[in-house]
Amino acid sequence: MEQADLKKSIESIIFISGEPVSVDKLAQVFPDIERSDIRNCLKELLTEWEEMGRGIFLANVSGGYQFRTAPGSSNHITNFLKRVKKFRLSRAALEVIAIIAYKQPVTRIEIESIRGVDCSGVINVLLERQIIEIKGRKEVIGKPFLYGTTGEFLEVFGLKSLSDLPTLKEIDEISQNLETGIPAISEEPSQQEEPLP
């Protein structure tokens, strides 16, 4: 098959799918074509679509490739879909997502001890929306569920993979700071506070 034809077919398939299409899936559809060739095509397609600057672009998300609308038109699209910014995640939900994303697999108790509040309601909503899923059980008393993020999570937040997550500020660094940063309590604590008038 010609390179140009392959590219066109790949585009068609990604378009039809709606969901992100992985290289693996494409390799199954084109058994006679080297994976490296498929990869090259995809790389070229990414660039081409970016350069074309149309209302649609090709995104590399959640371990696959997906056509999406260009960011600029979101107002008109919500207008068209007759909905008012349907996408709403509460701050609570976002916090829980962030904790799960970075600490996965993680139990509900662990999430709650960071946030300081009960999170079961939020967790159930996120499960239902398939942004998180149950990954297994922790081998401790009570065998609590371990939660992790899904492909849907990567898709929603436009990430290629979990390694695409921005790096977190290191907690170790914080402890370091604490030890050096907090002066031992002195006999005269008032010194560290505002000077008396």
Partner: protein, 256 residues
């Protein structure tokens, strides 16, 4: 300062009901807010001042008839404890004794890290808000299944739930509210006792006796659990005959 709770808005004074409100995402969020508002160094929190303001805030919430979650009270107690420790004269024996605030600061910082990460996540191009994907053509994909769902454990549970809901409508009108609190363990014993006494009972009869949706769900869960534990067997005499639940003579439930 008391009236400056963001988003609280005007409240009708005659409303006696308790309103649950998410002004803050919990005690840690409130604490961080207070620290920022007072322009304090997070590594050097003035515990006395913060504790007073924190408790003042909780009092206000109570005054406004807002529900104060227990989680807030736990942190209030911790703060008070730290405050009192700070006031104690420091014993000279141990040189490197940890600051009583250290643990709380560590938790606050950790929480802050995830709060920041959450807002970072939301800054990017979010699907369904900034960018949109195309739903797959139904015509193209409807090859055989009416409804397609991805496979994960959650879907399995979800399938179960919908299955209950469907059966529930067949067996019981949702007539009654829950008048008594009953646990699954208690229900399981009840169901087992009933089957043990009768020796056997028709599948449908077991459920037509249910008084509420809640009861129905519990009964069904109990039955599944009993079947799983081999305490009961579910049998039929012929393919068209009604299902019968038979007591198997073993009580595995008593063991746990």
């Amino acid at each position: 300062m008391k009236n400056q709770i963001p988003g609280a808005g005007p409240l009708e004074p005659k409303e006696p009901c308790v309103i649950k409100i998410n002004l803050f995402e919990g005690p840690m969020d409130l604490l961080l807010h207070l620290i920022k508002k007072n322009e304090m160094d997070i590594y050097d929190i003035k515990v006395a001042a913060i504790t007073d303001q924190y408790i003042e805030y909780l009092e206000l919430m109570k005054e406004l008839n807002l529900e104060v979650a227990g989680d807030y009270l736990v942190i209030a107690a911790e703060l008070s404890l730290i405050k009192s420790k700070m006031l104690l004269p420091k014993p000279v024996i141990e040189e490197e004794e940890e600051d009583p605030r250290a643990e709380l600061v560590r938790r606050l910082l950790e929480y802050q890290v995830y709060q920041d990460a959450a807002s970072d996540l939301f800054e990017g191009e979010v699907l369904g808000r900034d960018v949109f994907k195309r739903e797959p053509d139904k015509g193209d994909l409807s090859i055989e299944e009416v409804e397609l769902v991805p496979v994960n454990l959650w879907s399995l549970i979800e399938a179960f739930r919908e299955f209950y809901d469907r059966r529930k409508e067949l067996w019981a009108e949702d007539l009654s509210f829950i008048t008594e609190e009953i646990t699954i363990e208690e229900k399981l014993e009840q169901v087992l006792n009933k089957i043990r006494t009768l020796g056997e009972i028709g599948f449908e009869r077991l459920f037509t006796e249910c008084e509420s949706k809640f009861d129905l769900i519990l009964t069904f869960l109990s039955l599944l659990e009993l079947a799983r534990m081999d305490s009961v067997h579910i049998v039929q005499e012929s393919p068209d005959a009604p299902m019968i639940i038979v007591y198997s003579g073993e009580n595995h439930f008593g063991a746990s």
